[in-house]
């Protein structure tokens, strides 16, 4: 260290190590909590947004008494007639309840020969050998949550489903869906369409709903009107509305996040206020001594600014790194329950590391500016008084 100023700064910093370590530990805790919550919410937001990317542009459902009911496959022909609609895909899905255990799975029927219709699933089952899958007629793909459930309840690789008519269908677990898709696929059971229809009690000529794409976004409004006009009981949902629904759900969860965030900020502010209102008497005296020895107000402010910056830098680096490890390597134990607690099958997702410079800067500024201000303002107040007064 060639600069006498920085040498003096480090010596003075080191000489008050007990005080500095206390401040650093406290700061690390605050930054750690803030960063963990922000990392977690950003990662979830990213995962949900990514999952929505693979959603079809439109979904058409048949409604009866404000409830979705199955729809005839014939509607496909009517939809195809409408110009601008690129491709219509019938979808089969529904909840399968395990009454004694109070759990439910999302059974999804997939036409594996029409992979383009299932862009999302195609991504999920990317690395699987589908030829092997079709060697058995009773194969299923399960989400991580279902896999865990099967292991916990000693199902091994086979699980029996009962159709609404009481007929038993035993399915064989072919593979588990990739862990990184767990946020959206945790409770999923993917089977061929015909099998799904049997399990869910859907008639042969019926499906759950239709999905289709309209490449030109300017035509979305007119397509909505045209599809709605096909029948009085059709409900047309476009991707923007799905985004909105997810956003609302996420905002609800965001309330918890906000609570934690506010609690941390309030406790941080209280401690800063305490520091602001009563600067340690030794620190006061030392500033007075330096001033008496010929240090100007600017010199003392510079010393204390760099001292605070050093605390901020150390705390920020350690706090953010610990939060990264906590969220992305240990998958945020305890904290994730706030966001994922309502799932009927516990989701244990792998959070995708999202490094957002804006987020990191926000954490830095949220912490650094109040902290440095809480150091500099009292130092400035002391420095501007007579050194004689400050030394008392």
């Amino acid at each position: 260290m060639n600069s006498p100023f920085f040498r003096f700064l480090l010596l003075s910093f080191y000489s008050e190590k007990a005080k500095q370590i206390t401040v650093i530990i406290f700061s690390i805790i605050i930054i750690f909590i803030l960063s963990s919550v922000l990392f977690l919410s950003t990662s979830m937001h990213y995962s949900i947004t990514e999952a929505l990317k693979y959603q079809p542009d439109f979904i058409v459902q048949k409604m009866a008494g404000d409830r979705r009911v199955n729809i005839s496959e014939r509607v496909t022909d009517e939809l195809i007639e409408i110009p601008s609609i690129a491709k219509v895909t019938p979808r089969v899905y529904g909840r399968y309840f395990l009454k004694p255990l109070g759990k439910s799975f999302l059974v999804v029927g997939v036409d594996f020969f029409d992979v383009q219709s299932h862009r999302g699933l195609e991504k999920i089952i990317d690395n699987m050998d589908l030829n092997k899958f079709f060697k058995r007629r009773d194969n299923m793909l399960v989400g991580e949550g279902v896999d865990r459930f099967m292991r916990e309840h000693h199902y091994d690789n086979n699980m029996t489903f009962f159709t609404p008519k009481g007929k038993a269908i035993t399915l064989h677990k072919f593979a588990t869906l990739p862990k990184n898709s767990e946020l959206v696929s945790s409770d999923m059971v993917i089977v061929p369409i015909d099998l799904a229809k049997k399990i869910l009690g859907i008639k042969r000529r019926e499906v759950s709903d239709f999905a289709f794409n309209v490449p030109n976004i300017l035509e979305w409004e007119i397509v909505t009107i045209k599809v709605s006009a096909l029948d009085y009981d059709l409900r047309v949902i476009n991707k923007k509305e799905s985004y909105k629904a997810y956003a609302e759900f996420f905002d609800f969860k965001g309330g918890f996040f906000l609570s934690i965030f506010l609690i941390v900020l309030i406790s941080f502010s209280l401690i800063l206020y305490q520091r602001y209102s009563q600067l340690y008497s030794t620190e006061r005296r030392n500033i007075g001594v330096l001033r008496a020895l010929g240090w100007s107000i600017k010199d003392t402010l510079k010393l204390k600014f760099f001292e605070a910056l050093l605390v901020v830098f150390i705390s920020y680096t350690i706090g953010v790194s610990l939060a990264y490890i906590f969220v992305y390597i240990f998958h945020a134990p305890i904290l994730k329950n706030i966001f994922l607690g309502s799932s009927n099958i516990m989701v244990e997702p792998t959070f995708v590391p999202v490094i957002d410079i804006f987020l990191l800067s926000s954490i830095f500024l949220l912490y650094a500016i109040p902290f440095i201000a809480s150091v500099i303002i009292p130092v400035w107040r002391i420095s501007t008084t007579n050194p004689k007064e400050a030394m008392r």
Binding site: N2, P4, F5, R7, F8, L11, S12, S15, E16, T282, R285, N286, G288, V289, L290, R291, A292, L293, G294, W295, S296, I297, K298, D299, T384, N386, P387, K388, M391
Partner: protein, 222 residues
């Protein structure tokens, strides 16, 4: 050369003014050894603080080495204190958690000198103050006499022309008082202006005192 004319320092307590010093006028020549004498509360420490630039007068004029310090802005007053004044406080006022070496180097930091130059000056001051052997000791672990020698070294390190001492013997035993007086004598020989504020009668017996200024209730008596 220090020139003081009609100097007042008062504190406003409610509607009342409390005068610490009132209407002081005096002059101190370069190289003089001056004693401010008086009982506690007589205003000698306040007068000393104003000369040292660590306090400002409420009214009146003070000029040190032709610099009108009562009117200087902070940046200039700080530089003035740094270059012209070496202060030895009654309670030493060391940075207790730093070493003797670092305490002595503290006044040189704003000077933007090289580490080598700082080292040279600090070692020289430690030697004059006879405290080199404690250079690496933490200030809080020193005895009273050692702390004072550290404070002397710190006062000398900027090669200030004026050394001001506030009740320098108040916390020292006889042996340390003798050491301190020896150092002051050496500094006087180096043509430093020395101003001591004290009520210790030992100073009045010194044969090298040029001027004794007696204060009583903030007023110059003789």
């Amino acid at each position: 050369m220090i020139e003081i004319k009609n100097l007042n320092r008062y504190y406003q307590v409610g509607k009342e003014r409390f005068y610490a010093i009132r209407d002081i006028s005096l002059s101190i020549k370069k190289g003089e050894f001056v004693l401010f004498h008086g009982v506690s509360g007589s205003g000698k420490t306040t007068l000393l603080s104003i000369i040292a630039g660590v306090d400002r007068p409420s009214s009146g004029m003070i000029s040190v080495n032709n610099e009108l310090i009562s009117k200087l802005p902070d940046q200039h007053l700080s530089r003035f204190r740094n270059r012209e004044i070496g202060i030895i406080f009654q309670h030493y006022n060391l940075l207790e958690s730093l070493t003797v070496y670092d305490n002595v180097s503290a006044p040189l930091i704003p000077e933007r000198l090289s580490l080598k130059e700082i080292d040279k000056r600090v070692k020289k001051s430690l030697k004059i103050a006879n405290i080199s052997h404690k250079a690496n000791s933490i200030a809080s672990t020193l005895s009273g006499g050692e702390k004072q020698r550290c404070a002397i070294a710190r006062a000398l390190v900027t090669d200030a022309s004026i050394i001001v001492c506030d009740e320098p013997t108040a916390n020292l035993d006889r042996a340390n008082i003798d050491i301190f007086l020896d150092i002051l004598k050496k500094l006087h020989k180096l043509n430093k202006t020395i101003i001591v504020s004290t009520h210790d009668p030992i100073f009045q017996k010194l044969d090298y005192i040029d001027q004794i200024i007696h204060l009583e209730d903030g007023v110059l008596v003789s």
